[in-house]
Point group: C2
Chain length 337, copies 2
DNA sequence: TATTCATGTGGGAACGGTCCCACATCAACG
DNA sequence: CGTTGATGTGGGACCGTTCCCACATGAATA
């Protein structure tokens, strides 16, 4: 149905080589021929076939993005969605398209799928098992990780400095005079949550606070409902413990916890300060707006795509770990004790 | 770098036709040969080249999704992101991949891009100009619209019954005894906002309420900040008007407005009820949780993909307008007067 | 015994581009 | 006047599949 370069050539009375040259701009073409060919292309609304082009050039200009998510939403995720947005936007400016898949079970299936599609590169978001990495490494496709498990060997990765962010949070809360801080920690199998908690706890001790194991509760997931539930379950303990602040290892958990508090007539921040991590969209929308450690989600996505492009173009990439510094965003959910 | 079917054939000592037959399962192959070939495929981790396959089969198994957005976020959008999620998920189960682009200027560029990529079908989300539709129609690619301008002729489209939803909202608020309702209407160039307002206003009159033009304020966009600002700008008027309820044509606007109210010590819902439309994720997370007219976002996305698949497979599609009924979700931001 | 048919395999064209190589023309130069 | 080089064009191999057609074999049937 679509026109081919051959048909264009025929109508212009030239060879397909010439048409190809006109389109690509490579090689010599006389102005008359070029004009004639372009006119016919315009008239017929000929669109070069990217599939055929990929066939010979061995480049699809497609990038595969694999996100590991237990729960299905990929794209509308408040954190990963932002990273993805930036990847898509940057990809467009570099003339790539993005194909997204979710990997449910840390298996190799999603990678297989992308490999068959012959993507030019692969971006792995969130954590992946070493065996998946090894599998991908075995094929010679450029790839990198975003916000992944950085303990995998020799993999270029883009990450937030989670540990430093945790420290910033502790330092800020302690600076406000809080001595009793209740912490809701997301799944420790997830490196981000682990490091945020680690940084927070260490800094908390560094500030001279007594390590109090009771003050940390571990969540099974990092959802809003889980944050709410964590607060609910620990409510008697919380009330008895005279805590004046809550720190959660991400905003969604923090917001859930905060909702529980507000619902139970605890005044935030007057009675209890609440602090999160990530700076997702609704952190600023909530009432009170949430103080948080903002992660450069857009910058991370953008950088990931730029570096991947370099890898694809075989340009040297200096650093293996591309780190982004989070920064404190002070809002209304925290106040001095 | 990747192995080809030819290499596999050579190693198995058979022709590439035979290997092709083993892989596809079409035609006769003896068990011995099949076993041998499969073993080599396994050993070498041969992955069929989807590009070459697309070349000959004239099917890429890729679907293009074009979303019209003035502001850039595509994917992390609380409403369209959900639709997209459902499309991606459903596409995967039908063996398609999704390529997403944003169209910034209602031009034909995004469509061109997809056409060059030879996508098997096209999903247009949000509104598009007639000329873009005409352009696409000119090529013989299956396509449909989701939540678009349904006034375009002869286009299969998936929509929410926005007008009915507007009526439901009015009926509900009036039923609670509210007589003075302040309405924040999103951009009327957007059919959804227009219809929601239309349904709401009509039903409001049908309930015997005096049409009061002062009670409607028109927003320039449909963001949280705009909702907040609308409330702020109309605050003197609002206070003077003794309004007891606010209806916004989407949740984001409603949430913004509600935040302003709460911030100014207006008790929601005791003094003022607030109601939105869409049922985005944070509607239920907010405090108080937002009463809204829930749109079947996931169902719409899923259905869109299923119907597009039918179009691609040349199966008959009966109805041109595929409508989804919204349903009231009663939460804590509304109460009887 | 000759014919038919199921089973199994290989050869090669086709898909729509890119790009190398061959070749033609013509001006400039030694 | 032959050589060189710039300019311009066409032929055809190639990318990695699919699938049609030809063909071979052996058992069953007329």
């Amino acid at each position: 149905m679509d026109y081919t370069i051959k048909q264009i050539a025929q109508m212009a009375g030239v060879s397909k080589s010439t048409v190809s040259r006109v389109i690509s701009g490579n090689g010599y073409t006389s102005p008359e021929v070029r004009g004639k060919v372009l006119q016919i292309i315009e008239e017929l609304q000929y669109k070069p076939n990217a599939v055929a082009r990929a066939m010979v050039s061995q480049r699809t200009n497609n990038i595969g993005v694999i996100i590991y998510r237990r729960d299905y939403p990929i794209v509308s995720h408040p954190f990963y969605g932002k990273i993805l947005d930036a990847i898509i936007k940057t990809a467009a400016s570099l003339n790539y398209s993005i194909i997204v898949t979710t990997d449910y079970d840390l298996s190799v299936r999603a990678a297989d799928f992308m490999l068959e599609k012959r993507v030019d590169g692969l971006i792995l978001i969130s954590r992946f098992h070493q065996n998946v990495i090894d599998y991908i490494k075995h094929f010679n496709v450029p790839y990198l990780m975003v916000n992944g498990s950085t303990d995998v060997e020799g993999v270029i990765h883009v990450v937030n400095q989670d540990e430093a962010g945790g420290r910033q949070a502790a330092s800020y809360l302690c600076g406000l005079g809080h001595r009793r801080i209740f912490t809701i920690a997301g799944p420790q199998t997830h490196r981000s949550h682990y490091l945020r908690l680690k940084g927070f706890s260490e800094q908390r001790e560094a500030e001279g606070l007594h390590p109090d194991s009771q003050s940390i509760t571990y969540a099974d997931s990092s959802t809003f409902d889980e944050g709410y539930r964590m607060m609910q379950d620990n409510w008697p303990l919380f009330a008895a413990g005279q805590y004046t602040a809550v720190f959660a290892t991400n905003d969604t958990l923090a917001l859930g916890a905060m909702k529980f508090l507000i619902e139970h007539s605890v005044r935030v921040p007057d009675e209890v300060s609440v602090m999160g991590f990530d700076d997702v969209d609704h952190a600023s929308m909530y009432f009170p707006s949430l103080t948080t450690v903002a992660v450069e989600k857009e910058e991370m996505g953008k950088k990931a795509m730029i570096v991947l492009d370099k890898l694809i173009r075989q340009e040297p990439v200096m650093q293996q770990a591309i780190e982004f510094e989070p920064k404190l965003v002070l809002r209304k959910s925290t106040s001095s004790k």
